[in-house]
Symmetry: C2
Subunit: 336 residues, 2 copies
């Protein structure tokens, strides 16, 4: 069930890799260093007073959203997320671009913007502070925010108070909460979260054989869609049934959403929510299907403006880490 175009903080999924740090906003400072001509250190008040306040409506989603579907092929590591590791919010803060330019960012050849956060994580027997990076081209696009509000409210501790990064279009892992510092340099972050998590491998690779240097770093998220209403396993009254959900595209836009009750032999086109949105928002959709008595499998797939669509079979996107689960989303309902 989707409550609306924007997801409240309470309803928004929470995926943290460590603790929820307790931060005193009046003492917290964000440093900007590395390949910059004027290294700076900014308080929250500095950020709010020195840079333009901007808002963007954007999806935040875990790269593991819909991972649960992959278990039907064979087990994967990670939390078995249903299609709910996603939300859409209006994020408010300042442009990362403006902050980087005020520090005099110098881009020479390959350049990356490295974020360090305040949460303590643990992996492979080591403790470390969360950190990731994004390419400078994305960081300077004007779309990336250092955000202090979500839907007009101060960020809650679970969502990164007092300041988080919001990288629209990218997997949630690249949008760290509790931001501590920013460094500009010539290669991606060395952090475990950048180097040993959130990479995509072919189906033939497993934990033991994974060459992490050769996985595809997950940044842009793929075209995807899901049925959020009715619930999987629901029992309904036979007759007209409202089916609803979301679709997301990155770089392109959602052009069409289709629902099938006969495993893709025929499709019914859904109505797309026409509420004005940014290129980074999700598209909500609804369709009414006439379901006779019996058990039905419903499938959904989205098409984007480049004529791309989702694959039908889960096996075709399976990977041992369980990322980017984008096959047709299927639910089973019983009409009586």
């Amino acid at each position: 069930m989707i409550a609306g175009m924007h997801t409240t903080q309470d309803d928004f999924y929470v995926r943290n890799h460590g603790n929820v740090p307790v931060i005193d906003e009046t003492l917290h400072r964000i440093s900007v260093s590395g390949q910059v001509s004027r290294p700076i250190s900014l308080s929250l008040n500095d950020l709010k007073s020195r840079f333009e306040r901007v808002s963007v409506s954007a999806v935040m989603q875990c790269a593991g959203n819909r991972r649960a579907d992959l278990f039907s092929v064979k087990p994967v590591s990670g939390d078995p997320w249903a299609p709910g590791a996603i939300g859409n919010a209006v994020w408010t803060g300042v442009r990362l671009k403006d902050v980087l330019e005020s520090a005099g960012i110098m881009c020479v050849g390959e350049t990356h913007v490295v974020f360090a956060a305040c949460d303590d994580c643990e992996a492979e027997g080591k403790r470390f502070r969360y950190g990731v990076s994004i390419p400078a081209s994305k960081a300077l696009s004007g779309d990336v925010l250092l955000a202090y509000e979500m839907n007009g409210e101060v960020l809650s501790p679970e969502h990164g108070y007092p300041l988080r990064v919001v990288v629209p279009g990218y997997a949630g892992v690249r949008s760290p909460k509790w931001l501590a510092s920013i460094e500009v340099r010539d290669k991606p972050s060395d952090n475990h979260m950048q180097q040993r998590e959130y990479k995509l491998f072919p189906a033939s690779v497993d934990e033991a054989s994974a060459d992490w240097e050769n996985g595809t770093t997950i940044n842009d998220m793929p075209l995807n869609s899901a049925i959020c209403e009715p619930n999987d396993g629901a029992t309904l009254c036979a007759g007209p049934v409202r089916v609803a959900g979301y679709a997301v595209a990155t770089g392109t836009s959602v052009a069409r959403v289709e629902v099938s009750s006969d495993d893709g032999v025929t499709w019914t086109q859904a109505a797309l929510n026409v509420e004005p949105s940014t290129p980074w928002s999700w598209t909500l959709w609804t369709v009414e299907l006439a379901l006779p008595e019996g058990t039905h499998e419903l499938s959904v797939r989205a098409w984007d403006s480049a004529g791309q669509t989702q694959v039908s079979q889960v096996a075709d996107v399976w990977n041992f880490k369980g990322y980017l689960s984008t096959a047709w989303h299927r639910i089973t309902v019983t009409a009586q």
Copy 2:
């Protein structure tokens, strides 16, 4: 068979919708009008002398590339192109952006850049000059060229001499040859080529039921790949066989190419050509498969940097106009 990273003019596919106009370069002028503060008329010499000369390596492909595959589901209209309605070239000319800015382009709300060409076309019993449009955001991206050279040679008449538009990433239809004029306005071109061709419809729509207002205008081209060597139907020596072809992505980049000889149960990863290229070039790939005696179906699929891949079944992308044929490309070979 792909000769190399760049396709010569002689080898490059030719898809025209009318005649090949004979144009005297010394008399030809390009006008820029509509929502501009300074309408201008430019000779070829003006273009070459007043604007920066730039080159971009980019794919040009017909939206009907690989259409032949769709006939296995049911017939479609249009030429039954094999995977050869595509080529990659270094295009040289001037930035459309520079020309539009010199004319003082005014973007207010929705803005489109309309191209009129010199070729005479005929459709639905009417004769007209070829014309299409692209959104102003794309026209002003800096990537779109008014090109007068292809791989360092003057354009041949078949490829648009003396001047053509090159819109990297878009379907070939949006890159008119024999450019005559440019108009900036608040809606897309009214031309038949824009309104009644090159739109994508669901599989349930046919010629009679098509509502052309509701089709998806084909601009950005989807992720695709094809096997170019060996030829479909070839007889080979059993043992190691070299398989090669191309992959293309738009907005994202090609991250992985895989070839299967068992209908996708297992895949072998291809080596990608690492020659430096622009985001608009194709990616060439090769792989060696050990084929025992017998008949084999080989399939290829590409993955992009956003973890998107191609669908397996032709039926899932079938549309009555036969555009954007992107299911796994399959060929049959006999090893003996």
